[in-house]
């Protein structure tokens, strides 16, 4: 049954996942080409100088991609459930409600993790070839909050979609905007380095919220 449920979730998100994956790889490829052009035109030393001494970040165009990916995967997975309230059927599967929700969330989060791992891996390999270990650390510290925003946005989309009332959906959306804003306060490279361990806790904190939406849905909350 668990396999069947996972297969259903996979089927819903497969097409969107492929599109987002290709978009992510294309974006990364474009950024690498752009950086490569800079190497040829001004040389590596100038590029290092710009990054080290002028606090520029060459992968800054990736900033909102994880957020977009989280929203897209979330919508692809949960909007079909809410059309004609099909989630009722899902919740009637011979599994514990908690297991069903956890499996659905786990499938979405894992597919995002795969997406993000591919992109971060590409960035790190590229950075390791052309830059020193200090750059790799700085790149990672700068990008990690963006990818956490991706997971957080996915979890909030699940919460908002499953929520049965529009009024509360709007409040949830405002809550989501404020929470996600926390990781986009500063664009300065490494700005989050002192609180990175706390930033990692944001998606963990947000994860149970979907269960409340499920509970409200089951209780038949209305406007």
């Amino acid at each position: 049954m668990k396999k069947a449920l996972l297969y259903k979730e996979l089927k819903k998100t497969k097409r969107v996942w492929m599109i987002v994956f290709l978009l992510g790889i294309t974006l990364l490829f474009y950024l690498c080409l752009k950086a490569g052009r800079s190497f040829r035109l001004v040389g590596m030393e100038h590029l290092w100088d710009v990054v080290v001494n002028r606090d520029q970040f060459i992968f800054r165009d990736l900033k909102f991609f994880p957020l977009l990916a989280g929203v897209c995967i979330g919508l692809a997975q949960y909007v079909p459930e809410m059309v004609q309230k099909r989630i009722k059927l899902t919740l009637h599967l011979p599994l514990k409600e908690r297991t069903i929700v956890l499996l659905m969330l786990a499938q979405g989060l894992l597919s995002l993790l795969l997406l993000f791992a591919a992109q971060i891996g590409g960035v790190l390999i590229y950075t390791a070839i052309y830059f020193s270990a200090e750059f790799i650390y700085s790149t990672l510290i700068t990008m990690v909050p963006w990818y956490l925003a991706g997971f957080t946005s996915y979890l909030f989309v699940a919460m908002i979609c499953i929520e049965p009332t529009w009024k509360r959906r709007i409040f949830n959306a405002v809550l989501a905007t404020g929470t996600i804003q926390l990781v986009f306060i500063s664009s300065f490279p490494g700005a989050y380095s002192q609180i990175i361990k706390w930033i990692i806790l944001i998606p963990v904190f947000v994860m149970p919220f979907t269960f409340l939406s499920i509970s409200r849905f089951k209780e038949g909350e209305q406007e």
Binding site: F171, P189, I195, W198, F205
Partner: protein, 406 residues
């Protein structure tokens, strides 16, 4: 589910405690209005330019006597600040305060050094550019490598190949070994800009708080212990390239004192400053051949010392307290403020600023209003929410109303 709802209310409250004050400050904040102040070598007192909001014009006056000046008169009483204007008008005196001073000397000994807390408190990739200090060229050229200081050595990296330059690294490492430098380095200060007039390399404090001077001279390492007093633990250093090449750097000690590392065999001079914290306050030194104007701007206001440029003794001082008042509505409504950014740091760090006791009254009002709303709308009894609203005021009130379980 009750616990999850409580988590949502907690998150919403914190976000409101962050967003509401931020919005409030965007609407109400006014800049601290400090007049530009400079010590007059003619009047022997501070003179200031400020903007008169009522008359909508600039007012130039002597801070002590209150005497007002026209623009032309003001140029004359601050000849070391407006020397180019006076030179252009043919009004630059030959002697100021009994001392003969030429325009060239004024140009050489005039500098402006500004240190903002953000210069220190910012993320940085620990790689450094070491220029050739005696290239014989007017313009500095990029050296073709960057150096890093690890826990036990110095390494030069070639950016073209992303590999360590072993021979150069070894040459410099030998110099570090010879000089008795104790790794790891605690502080590294230098100016990596090739646009500066000349290069004096880096000042590095070692594990024993000794300050070393590192340069590259004709491709070879130059590393020397400056003899900076080791009992003064440097917390920050800022190099500067004055035109007269009289000093290398400003060193900020753990004792909240400022030192000047001079080019005269690394002699250290203590620079008297108003009370100053390098982590929060702004320092501005406006120097001329006769006086140094040392400005410290903090939350409390702006304080200025005028120092004798030769002896660095304080000859005059002035202070301008921060007149910015907390808006009444804000202090009444907002029990506390959550901040994620500081004007003194480029790191994102959370902080909480507590409000005044008067906010408790507002909190009580919100708690009572919440209680009556719950009764009228027949919501479930929830003591937690009521206490939460009393503790967090307007933030908890809005969060609980939005996310209460009915």
């Amino acid at each position: 589910m009750k616990r999850i709802n409580s988590l949502i209310i907690l998150l919403a409250t914190l976000l409101l405690a962050w967003g509401t004050p931020a919005l409030y400050h965007i609407i109400t904040d006014k800049a601290a209005d400090y007049a530009f102040t400079y010590y007059s070598s003619v009047e022997q007192s501070f003179c200031a330019i400020s903007y008169d909001d009522e008359k909508e014009k600039l007012v130039r006056k002597n801070v002590e006597t209150g005497k007002k000046y026209t623009e032309s008169e003001f140029d004359s009483i601050l000849p070391l600040f407006y020397y180019r204007q006076l030179l252009s008008d043919g009004r630059l005196p030959d002697t100021i305060g009994g001392e003969a001073i030429s325009p060239r000397e004024i140009g050489l000994k005039t500098f402006y050094f500004r240190n903002d807390a953000r210069d220190k408190n910012k993320p940085h990739i620990p790689l450094y550019t070491l220029f050739e200090s005696m290239s014989g060229r007017v313009n500095l050229e990029m050296p073709g490598d960057f150096f890093r200081l690890t826990n036990n050595n110095i390494e030069f990296i070639d950016p073209e190949t992303n590999t360590v330059k072993h021979e150069k690294s070894q040459n410099f490492m030998d110099a570090f070994n010879r000089s008795g430098f104790q790794f790891p380095a605690k502080l590294v200060a230098g100016n990596p800009s090739p646009r500066k007039a000349y290069d004096e390399g880096y000042f590095i404090s070692d594990d024993n708080n000794r300050v070393f001077h590192l340069k590259m001279v004709n491709g070879k390492p130059f590393l020397k212990d400056t003899g900076f007093p080791s009992e003064v633990k440097p917390v920050y250093m800022a190099t500067y390239e004055p035109d007269d090449k009289s000093f290398y750097a400003f060193v900020f000690g753990q004792n909240q004192k400022l030192y000047l590392l001079t080019t005269e065999q690394y002699k250290t001079e203590e620079i008297p400053t108003p009370p100053f914290d390098v982590n929060t306050d702004q320092l501005l030194i406006m120097a001329n051949p006769l006086y140094w104007n040392v400005n410290v701007t903090s939350d409390k206001g702006k304080e200025i010392f005028a120092l004798n440029a030769g002896t660095k003794e304080v000859v005059d001082r002035a202070s301008f307290p921060n007149k910015k008042k907390e808006n009444r509505i804000g202090s009444l409504l907002l029990p506390f403020e959550v901040g994620m950014e500081k004007s003194t740091s480029l790191f994102v760090t959370p902080s909480v600023k507590w409000g005044t006791y008067s906010a408790l009254l507002a909190n009580l009002f919100f708690a009572l209003t919440f209680f009556f709303i719950c009764r009228i709308k027949k919501y479930k009894k929830n003591r937690f929410s009521l206490i939460w609203v009393f503790l967090t005021g307007i933030y908890g009130f809005v969060a609980c109303l939005a996310f209460i379980r009915k």
